[in-house]
Symmetry: C2
Amino acid sequence: MKFCSQCGSTLKTLVPPGDNRERFVCEACDMIHYQNPRIVTGCLPVWEDRVLLCLRAIAPRKGYWTLPAGFLENGESIAEGAARETLEEANARVSNLELYTVFSLPHISQAYMFYRADLADLDFSSGTESLDVRLFHQDEIPWDELAFPVITQSLEFFFEDRVSGEFPVRSRELHFRRRNRG
Amino acid sequence: MKFCSQCGSTLKTLVPPGDNRERFVCEACDMIHYQNPRIVTGCLPVWEDRVLLCLRAIAPRKGYWTLPAGFLENGESIAEGAARETLEEANARVSNLELYTVFSLPHISQAYMFYRADLADLDFSSGTESLDVRLFHQDEIPWDELAFPVITQSLEFFFEDRVSGEFPVRSRELHFRRRNRG
């Protein structure tokens, strides 16, 4: 960040009065440009005893399987974002969304949140960011071809909890070096 | 947002190729400037049968009681941010943080997340953003002087769940018009 998005002046990096960390500050218009973590929201869509996964058509992790998920947009709730991403990536409609997993990934300043959801029908297909969309039984999950650790953990929790039928919200921190994309 | 923070050129508002909503786009350097919701993270600090509240010294809702909370910073986990805010606003140390409430406030593009936490000791005091910090029994809570609906709901859930001793994560959407600050 080099220029003020408000007035176009060159930004400085300094600790504003009353603050305790460096920010991008515009001394021309006094604007402080904060940078904050982003939320990635998605679904774990369930049909009977199968779950829906998408084969990624884009980087990072192109060609690996993922749960439908993406960045939460301004003006939508976290669950609305999860349903939207499921529609965009899998052309799939979901209902009865229940918050299930929450992951902090401080190394990339992201929070991931997945909702268990009922797949509404079998009329799904690949969205523009997916090469394929399929339903998997537990013993068909391509564990070695999952895109991100948050996907693996969410699926592990799900199949573990499915035994008891109790699905408490699971909150975890994942700490990786930057080259291991979360 | 008027100028590109990367190159200083004037931004346009348009739907980028492959996208489905308007973004701030720089046609000089091809940078797309996304804007996303922010996470507010905080604690519900507990000492025996009392909870800690802070009297706000700053707008919005100056002079109203709140749980210690603030914007999650880049590079920290959601729980780390909650503990940091508790230290900054109440000079209080907490342990055993457990995710408890998650609120979507799409009208202001924020997500609030509160952790139940054990107050480590009674050596707390007002931080720069607080006028007062106190412990309250359930029957002392200033219900009419709480700063935000998310504070009221988190405290209501807490005292309700304390009866059974079970504290499942509570996830809610709050929809308000803009003038009702979340």
